[in-house]
Symmetry: C2
Subunit: 221 residues, 2 copies
C-alpha cells in the first residue's frame, strides 16, 4: 500500500519547513509507517483539491485521504493501534491539548514574526505574491516592516521558550522517557524556527538542542 | 494524627492568596486528607524555622515536616498511594512538568505585575516593608510605578491565558475528565489572580470560570 504525504516546500523542493507537516512526519515515524512525500507549494491548491480543502499536510493512506495534522494524528492513532500510542492514556492526551494550544497560540506567534521575512525569500516565486498578500493582511504590516522589527521579537520568543527550556533541563522529552505527540507538536515549531531563521535562534548549550536531536534519534532519523 | 498547613495570609487572616499554598490545599483535597491551616505572614520566619527554610506552604503531617509545594505534592503522592494519584502515569507526570514551568515562567509573571499593588494594600502592616523591599528589588520598579502601568499588563495576561481558554473550551479539566495536579498548579495561579485583583480579570463567559468552579466541586469545596 502506498502512503503519500503532501509536504510544504520552498523554491528548493527539499526545503520542507511547515511545523504542521513536521508533526505528521514524526507521528508517522512514531507509528513506524513508511511514506513518500510530495513537495507542495502554497498556491498548488489544485494538487490537493481531492482532499476537499487547500492546506497541507494531506496524507493519502491507501484509499484514505486525511487533511489537517490533528486529524491525521487521530486517524493514525485509531488506524494503527498496535504501534506505540501517540497520545498515551486519556489524562496524557488531555494534557497534550494544552501543549498544542500553547504551541499554536504562544510559540507559533512568537516564531512567525521572526522568520516570516526569511521564509518569504526562500519560497517558490509563484508563491511569493500569495504569501505576501495573506501574511500582510493577517499582521497588518508589510513583510519589510516585520523584518525591520526583528530585534524586538527575539526576546519575546526567548521568554515564550523559558518553560520548555526549564522542562528539558530536568527530563529527556516533554512526555518523559520517550517522545509522544506532545513532543512532535513542539518539535515541529522549533524545527520550523531553526530551519527558516537567517540567524541561529538556539545557543549551543540550549537544552532544546539535545532534545531536538534526541527526538530524531528515537526514530532513527 | 494532626495535619497542619502553614498558609500565607494578609492583614485579614482569612485572605489566603498564595498560588503555591492553593496547589497544596487542592492536592490535600485530591488525596482526601483533612487538615487545619495556620495563617502565616511573610515576616513570620521564626514560626516556620523548624522547617529549615522561610517560605510557605509548610506541611506538618504528624511527625513529618515538608516545605515547598512541589516537594509536598511528591511527598503526598508517595505517602498516600491508595488515594487518587496526583500526577497519573509517567508520561502525564512529565507533561505536568511543562505545565508547571509554563505556569511559573509565563502565567505568574503576567499575573504578578497586575496584582502586586493590590496585594500590597491587603498585607499585614508588618509585612509591607518586607514586601516592598523584595518586590521592588526584583522588578526594578516601585510598587507605585507597577500600579501606574497596570493597563499595559492586562493584554499580556490575556495573551498568556489563550492556550488555557482554548483547552478548557474543549475539555472539562486540563487533565481531561477529572482534575490532576496539573489543574491544581494552574488553578492556584488563577485563584491568586482573581482573589487579589482590584478589577475582575475574567469575563462571565470565560471558559476558565466554570473550570475553576468545577475543580472545587470535584472535591466538595
Amino acid at each position: 500500500m502506498k502512503r503519500i504525504l503532501y509536504d510544504l516546500a520552498g523554491a528548493d523542493p527539499d526545503f520542507r519547513f511547515s511545523p504542521y507537516c513536521w508533526r505528521t512526519k514524526l507521528a508517522l515515524a512514531h507509528k513506524n509507517l513508511p511514506y513518500e512525500t510530495i513537495a507542495w507549494r502554497f498556491t498548488e491548491k489544485d494538487e490537493i483539491a481531492f482532499s476537499g480543502q487547500g492546506k497541507v499536510p494531506v496524507l493519502v493512506d491507501g484509499e484514505t485521504v486525511v487533511a489537517d495534522s490533528q486529524a491525521i494524528a487521530e486517524y493514525l492513532e485509531v488506524s494503527y493501534p498496535h504501534e506505540a500510542s501517540l497520545f498515551g492514556d486519556p489524562p496524557s492526551r488531555a494534557l497534550t491539548v494544552l501543549v498544542r494550544h500553547w504551541t499554536e497560540l504562544t510559540l507559533h506567534p512568537a516564531i512567525v514574526k521572526i522568520v516570516l521575512p526569511d521564509i518569504f525569500l526562500r519560497l517558490d516565486p509563484k508563491d511569493q505574491p500569495y504569501f505576501r498578500r495573506t501574511r500582510e493582511a493577517h499582521w497588518g504590516m508589510t513583510i519589510e516592516e516585520i523584518a525591520a522589527a526583528r530585534a524586538e521579537y527575539l526576546p519575546v520568543l526567548n521568554a515564550a521558550l523559558a518553560p520548555l527550556r526549564q522542562t528539558l533541563s530536568v527530563q529527556k522529552f516533554i512526555a518523559g522517557a520517550a517522545p509522544s505527540y506532545a513532543d512532535h507538536i513542539v518539535w515541529g515549531a522549533l524545527k520550523w524556527a531553526c530551519l527558516t531563521s537567517s540567524t541561529p535562534l538556539l545557543a549551543a548549550d540550549d537544552p532544546i538542542v539535545p532534545w531536538m536531536r534526541g527526538v530524531l534519534e528515537t526514530y532513527g532519523l
